[in-house]
Symmetry: C2
Subunit: 306 residues, 2 copies
C-alpha cells in the first residue's frame, strides 16, 4: 500500500530499522529487569506473565514512548519505566482479549495464546498482575518540574479504565454480529487502540518535562496515528494471510466484527488511514524537525503489511 505522504524529507536519511532495533533492545532489557523473575514463587504466574510479554511483540507503544521523549529533548532512558508500563498494559489487554469468553484466539504473534499454554485461570491472573505491575512501574518513574507521580498514574488509570480501553473492549464485544455505524466504529477504535498509543506517547513527553504545547501536539499525533494503526489492522485482516499476520486472518469477518473495510469498504478505509496519518504528521510541526523518529514510525505503520 505505498502512498505518497506529506512527510518531511528529514525522514529519508533516518534509519528506522536501526532505530527500532536499538530501542527494542533497551525495552526488552528493561522489561526483563522489571518483570518478576520466572524462578520466583509462584513460578506459574511469573512464567505466564513473561511468556506473553516476551512473545514477540513489536514494542510499538514503548518505542513511540521513547521517541516522544526524544522529540522533547529528553533522554530516552528516562522514559523506560513508562515504556515498560505501557507494554505491560498492552500485554494484559491482549491476554484477557484472547480468552475464550472474549475473542477466543488460540494464536497471537504466531505463538499459542496465554490461556492455551497456562490455562484460563492463570491467564486471567497473569493479566491482572501485569495491569497492576504497570502502576507499580509508572509510580517509580522520576518526576519532573512539570509532572509528578499523580500525573503519571492519572494518565494511565484513565487510559486503561472503564471509559477508554475497557469501554472499547466492551463495545467491540457487543458489536459482534451487529450492524455498527461509522461513528460507533470510531468510538471503539479510539478507545481500544488509539487511547493507549496516545498515552504511551504522552508519558514519553512527560518524562522529558515537555511543555503544555508539546503535550498537546503529542496528544494530537497519538490520536491520529493510533486510529490509523487500527484502520490498517482492519485492512490487513482481510488482505493478508494468517502466516504473515502471526494470528488468524479473516477472524474479524468470521465473527462479524465491525471493521473499517466492512463498514466503509476497502478503498475508503485506505483513504481514511492515509488522511489520519497525514494529520499525525501535521501534529508534529511544533517539533520543527526534532520528531524524526515519530514521523518515521507513523510512516512505517501506514506501509506495514503485518
Amino acid at each position: 500500500m505505498p502512498v505518497s505522504l506529506n512527510k518531511s524529507s528529514r525522514t529519508k536519511s533516518f534509519s528506522l530499522k536501526s532505530y527500532i532495533h536499538l530501542r527494542s533492545k533497551k525495552i526488552n532489557a528493561a522489561l526483563n529487569r522489571y518483570l518478576p523473575k520466572a524462578t520466583a514463587k509462584p513460578k506459574t504466574l511469573h512464567e505466564s506473565m513473561r511468556y506473553s510479554v516476551f512473545a514477540g511483540g513489536k514494542r510499538l507503544r514503548p518505542i513511540l514512548c521513547m521517541a516522544a521523549a526524544e522529540a522533547c529533548g529528553g533522554k530516552p532512558d528516562n522514559s523506560l519505566l513508562f515504556a515498560s508500563a505501557v507494554e505491560c498494559i498492552h500485554t494484559y489487554s491482549l491476554i484477557h482479549d484472547d480468552l475464550p469468553a472474549l475473542d477466543n484466539d488460540d494464536y497471537r504473534r504466531g505463538n499459542k495464546t496465554n490461556h492455551i499454554v497456562f490455562g484460563e485461570g492463570v491467564a486471567v491472573l497473569a493479566g491482572d498482575a501485569l495491569l497492576t505491575l504497570a502502576f507499580e512501574l509508572a509510580n517509580q518513574a522520576p518526576v519532573t518540574s512539570r509532572y509528578k507521580s499523580n500525573h503519571f498514574i492519572s494518565e494511565i488509570a484513565k487510559t486503561a479504565g472503564h471509559s477508554k480501553l475497557i469501554a472499547g473492549q466492551v463495545a467491540d464485544l457487543e458489536g459482534e454480529g451487529k450492524s455498527v455505524s461509522k461513528a460507533q466504529l470510531r468510538y471503539i477504535h479510539e478507545r481500544k487502540t488509539s487511547a493507549l498509543l496516545t498515552c504511551s506517547i504522552k508519558l514519553g513527553g512527560m518524562s522529558a518535562n515537555c511543555t503544555p504545547k508539546q503535550l498537546q501536539a503529542l496528544t494530537d499525533f497519538g490520536y491520529n496515528v493510533g486510529l490509523a494503526f487500527q484502520v490498517i489492522d482492519d485492512i490487513l485482516d482481510v488482505t493478508q494471510t494468517s502466516k504473515k499476520l502471526g494470528k488468524t486472518a479473516g477472524k474479524d469477518e468470521a465473527v462479524q466484527k465491525a471493521t473499517y473495510p466492512s463498514v466503509v469498504g476497502l478503498d475508503e478505509a485506505r483513504k481514511i488511514a492515509k488522511n489520519l496519518t497525514n494529520k499525525a504528521y501535521a501534529a508534529l510541526k511544533p517539533f520543527k524537525g526534532n520528531a524524526v523518529a515519530l514521523e518515521a514510525l507513523a510512516d512505517y505503520l501506514l506501509k506495514r503489511d503485518h
Copy 2:
C-alpha cells in the same frame, strides 16, 4: 464460638452495630459517587461493575480503613477515597475468583455471581475496570506531610500485585486437590486475605498522617486480624449452611481446597484464630484506648457466624 479474649473493657460501651451502620452508609454513598453511572456508556460494563460492588458486601475493608484513620486521630471522611479503592480491589478479586476457570462459583453473598448475570467476557472486563478504578481513586486522595500519592499507589500496587494478592490466588488454585502443608496454607492466607486487609488499615492510618510507629502497629494488627479472618472463613465453610453464608457451603471440601480445618483440624483451627485475634489486640496497645472501633471489629470478626 464465644471465647474469652484479652480485649479492653472500653469495647463494652461501644456500639459496633451503630458504628458499622454509620460507616457503611458513608462508604456506600462514596462508592456511589466514585463509580461510573450505570447510565453512562458502555452501560453493560458500568452496570456490571455496580452490580458486584453493591451486591451486599459487609464493607469490612473500608470500615477497617476508616477505623484506622480514626485511631490515628484523623477525620474518617479523609479516608473515603482509600476505603472505596480497597473495596474496588476486593470486588474485582471476587469477580475474577468466581469465574468458571477459577473457583467457578454461581452465588456470592446470596446473589448470582457477576459472570452468571453478565456473561464471562463482561465479568473479566468489569473486574479489570474496578482494579484500574482503585488506582484512579487512591491517586486522588489528599496527601499528608508524611505520605504522598506515590506512597499510596505503591502500597496498593504491591498488595494487589504478583507477589501478594495474585500470588495467593495462584497458590490457592494450584493447591486444589493436593496435600498442602501448614506453612503453605499460611502463605496462601497471608496473600489472599491478610494482605488487602492490612493495606486497607495502613491506608486509613496514612490518610490521618500516622507516625511510623502507628503505621507499624496497624501493620501488625492487620496481619493478624487478616489471618484470623481467613481461618474463621475456613471454619464457617465446614460448620455453616449455604443459606447462612450466602454462598455455597462445603465448597472448599468439595474441591479439596486446603483450609485450616482440613490441614490442622477444627479445634486447632479455632485455637489459631483465637491466638491471632489476641495478637491483633496486643498490636493496638500503642493507641492507648483510641482504637476502640478496631478492637471491636476484631472481636466481631472472631465471633461472626457468617
